[in-house]
């Protein structure tokens, strides 16, 4: 059987959703027989492949880099899943949204720093005005909220998709 190509992406999040994904114990062994992880923080690939079946996105869209990534990923993915509250609602990254970006950077890197008081400008992605849910930038096929979503829920959605079913109601959704 040909393995299904799955990718994961880490935008503005804490990697907790990826931890939850890995936390599925022995189920990960049988899952690895059915899927091939082609991109993401858990594997080495540098470029997002052209033809991915399922991509799990962790994190809000918060920087210019996030935005370019998610647009490219959407073009190259059949089924895009917002994994976790940051991707679904903006969550904790979105808590900066009522503060102007310059004021925020000043507070963190200058007023809040003990030494080398300098707002980074080189080699770091430019922040967008606000950190917002993935759905507000590209079409999202499935939303899986939770902080993080329980690993059983992530596994359930992947298994449903592998069996060609539409994941609906098999997992109990909960924000937070």
């Amino acid at each position: 059987m040909k393995k299904v190509k799955v990718a994961t992406v880490w935008l503005d999040g804490c990697s907790g959703c990826h931890m939850s994904l890995l936390d599925m114990d022995t189920a990960i062994i049988s899952l690895s027989r059915k899927i091939e992880l082609v991109y993401g923080p858990l594997v080495d690939a540098q470029e997002f492949p052209e033809d991915v079946t399922v991509t799990l996105v962790e994190g809000a869209v918060s920087s210019q880099d996030d935005l370019e990534k998610i647009q490219k990923i959407r073009q190259r993915t059949q089924i895009l899943i917002s994994m976790g509250d940051c991707a679904v609602t903006g969550n904790v990254p979105g808590m900066r949204n009522s503060i102007p970006v310059q004021k925020l950077l000043q507070r963190v890197y200058v007023d809040g720093a003990e030494e080398k008081k300098l707002v980074p400008s080189d080699r770091v992605p430019v922040l967008l005005k606000q950190a917002r849910p993935v759905r507000e930038f590209v079409k999202v096929d499935i939303c899986l909220p939770g902080c993080p979503p329980p690993s059983k829920a992530i596994l359930g959605v992947i298994n449903d998709l592998l069996e060609g079913k539409k994941p609906d109601g098999n997992f109990k959704v909960k924000f937070g």
Binding site: S82, D85, V88, T89, G90, N91, V92, G94, M95, N97, S98, I99, Q130, R132, P133, R135, E136, V140, C143, L144, P145, C147, G169, K172, V173, K174, F175, G176
Partner: protein, 237 residues
């Protein structure tokens, strides 16, 4: 004088209820579930949250079950695709209006808004989040008011006025600018009429009113403390 009995139908089932009861009271007395957020047993209903909207035969418009009195022969539908759709839209509007960041909320896991969203299977919203800049009032020695989590149900306003008799809380402004304020927009800590009884905190369905010193998920509310007081005083449920 005994109250007059009326016959009404709820979801097709014939039930007998007392004249003067609301649709919600008649439904609850007959173990029929209607979802609510702003209603609280013993407090004057205000119809603020619109989650309890029901269909009444013979009328195109929807009625809030908590404020609509029953009438003889009335036929009420408590659940339909149309009602579910409107209830979901209402919940979505509540979720996007302010900053309900469940993951870092003291009431995570014990919140009525969060539980209602789960019950309706809401996994995302269709509208854009508002992300308003809202303040926090930490001036009270024991309690916190966080406007980010407030859904303007006014349970605090009513429990303070009707059960404690202190009338500390009020609503100010209208629409999206509406806020809960203590004592004519004075800081809560300076509100001389506040008895620090904490009934508003226990009645609050979300993390908007909480006890100080609670971390994420630690603020469990004790609604029983409020409703048992109602029963002891013999207030009509």
């Amino acid at each position: 004088m005994p109250q007059k009995k009326l016959s009404i139908r709820i979801d097709g089932e014939l039930i007998s209820a007392l004249e003067g009861q609301t649709i919600l009271q008649a439904a609850r007395a007959n173990k029929k579930y209607i979802p609510t957020l702003c209603a609280l047993e013993g407090l004057t209903p205000v119809g603020a949250c619109r989650i309890c909207l029901v269909e009444v035969s013979g009328s195109e418009r929807l009625f809030p079950a908590c404020t609509t009195p029953i009438q003889e022969g009335m036929s009420v539908i408590t659940n339909s695709p149309r009602l579910t759709r409107y209830r979901r839209i209402t919940l979505e509007l509540l979720l996007i209006e302010r900053n309900h960041v469940c993951a870092v909320c003291v009431s995570n896991g014990h919140c009525e808004l969060q539980a209602m969203a789960t019950a309706f299977g809401i996994s995302t919203v269709e509208l854009a989040y508002n992300f308003p800049k809202l303040s926090l009032d930490m001036s009270h020695p024991r309690f916190v008011l966080d406007h980010n989590r407030c859904i303007l149900c006014t349970r605090c306003v009513r429990v303070c006025a009707e059960l404690e008799g202190a009338q500390v809380w009020e609503l100010i402004s209208r629409g999206i600018h509406a806020r809960i304020v203590s004592e004519l927009n004075e800081k809560w800590g300076n509100a001389a009429s506040c008895t620090s009884c904490g009934k508003c905190v226990q009645a609050c369905p979300t993390g908007a009113l909480a006890e100080k010193g609670r971390a994420v998920e630690e603020m469990t509310k004790n609604l029983e403390a409020v409703t048992s007081l109602v029963h002891r005083r013999g207030v009509q449920a």
